[in-house]
Symmetry: C2
Subunit: 344 residues, 2 copies
Amino acid sequence: MKSIVSTTCATLLLVGVASPVLGQPTPGSDPLPSWKEGDVKRAIITFVDAVTTEGSPDYVPPEERIATFDNDGSLWSEKPTYFQLFFAIDQVRKMAANHPDWETTEPFKSALAGDVNGLMATGKEGLAKILASSHANLTAEEFSAAVRDWLATRRHPITNRPYDEMVYQPMLELLAYLREHGFKTFIVSGGGIDFIRVFAEETYGIPPEQVIGSSIAAKFEMRDGIPTIVKRPEGMFIDDKEGKPIGIYQHIGRRPLFAAGNSDGDLQMLQYTTIPRSESDSGRHFGLIVHHTDADREWAYDRDSHVGRLEQALDEAPKRGWRVADMKRDWTRIYPDATQSSDR
Amino acid sequence: MKSIVSTTCATLLLVGVASPVLGQPTPGSDPLPSWKEGDVKRAIITFVDAVTTEGSPDYVPPEERIATFDNDGSLWSEKPTYFQLFFAIDQVRKMAANHPDWETTEPFKSALAGDVNGLMATGKEGLAKILASSHANLTAEEFSAAVRDWLATRRHPITNRPYDEMVYQPMLELLAYLREHGFKTFIVSGGGIDFIRVFAEETYGIPPEQVIGSSIAAKFEMRDGIPTIVKRPEGMFIDDKEGKPIGIYQHIGRRPLFAAGNSDGDLQMLQYTTIPRSESDSGRHFGLIVHHTDADREWAYDRDSHVGRLEQALDEAPKRGWRVADMKRDWTRIYPDATQSSDR
């Protein structure tokens, strides 16, 4: 975990985040050094200037500058499957001794066998069951500790990197650039809210209260005199597709100016953010799609992918004016600490 | 609404809120001018100094400085009943023409008759039904507009003031003082999240994303090509008692340092915030109870009150070290624009 922290901090220094300690960014420095010059980078900078320059017809006051980011495939990788699923599999394995029936029952059987494809084949219900089982009846602290331990010790099966180092350097720069211009940055993820909260602050500079995600219920109880939150395997809220604008409404209560995603799970968030309510509204919103086009440095997938399928949102992009960041074309690097030629 | 805004702004100026425009507060100025000198005021200032002074053994970094405030009875008045109930009654009356059965069915019958006592007698279920009916099937924008209009046009039945001018000046000062010291201030209310969000930013300086409250479900749909959030009369989350620490966990994901409430509905939030997990934890948390003791300037009630009953939390206060602000003794004024001698 150490190296990603220092890399992220270095990045923040490089892009010149405004802070009382660091001072203002150097005028004229490139705020998005890992973005190649081109339409997408230019459009981002033009948009940010338009909504943050006082006197601009599209000026928006700081308190309304909300930016929402999907996580899986938009801020970090999601192949061969969602990273949280690897965590859930590890958790289910740890718990298996107390659940002998899991050995013969799906989705647990596939999970225990480490059969990711078999697990994916159990569909949304199967995945939801595995994810819920991976934290049901744990206290909030026990769950966080399990995620923290997992991130510190486990490696990605293909790249052999720590999972939280497989984050996109250009998106870290974009987050910092938006914050530097008064935006509050949020994660709005189909992944688990409490899973992402464990690393979002250190990795993305996004505090727990600005993470929205799928969740299960919780209960409050006194345990040995200590007020304790215990996670319950019920009341699941799925923060995906239609769930994303609903999560934004319930959690933020304000429509974003900026949304970034990479799959059809982000379609409704992009629509909710960018479709103008009025004429004056039309220049004040920005939709960004991260398009996975780089099989050498990361992965290349869109329409036919089971994880991160991008079809409807890609087709709607020209009509809605969403910008499509082509990873191969638009990004000079993928991960923070990798060489430029081959990141994966 | 105008006068409360300017009064609040004047207040913010008076207490010297740190901002890029206003600069730092004048050294030596009293940050809590409406709090009389005494144990409670001294304890608040001592606590804030301890957790915000670098090098102090109880120092807490800014990102962890979370303060949570109950709303009804803690930031604004709640007599003769919760103000939102007056709004809900007005809403139900507007909708009554489409619901002929309401005239003979409780809790609607009492609501339509304006019989607050009769309505309260229908209990939690009745109240929940009225509150849910007051916004079910409205779009997010329709509901906000209804609240905005109600606040602008309706007056409190006893004081004849706009409801949003019945906020506590000492608590406005406390909110500003905490923010000036790097705290993020949240509302954690049993009242409706979307109701409070309409006025929290203007009235308390608390943005919508820092308001937590009771809620009903919502759905997302396209209406004439516009992405729309519609409120649904189901999936109610009650952000009261045990619901408060759960709401804090789900919404903030971080335990507060500071919590303020005024009734047994705040008991679990106070426990969750202040009961130490470890020895080093014990000086870093503060619980405040607003005790309604001033029948001349506001209302006097505690153990026997149906609305805002304060019994268990008052009994636990000495054991837990919670400070009890006695409105009569500790506050030089109640509402922002009132004379000091008679506020109500």
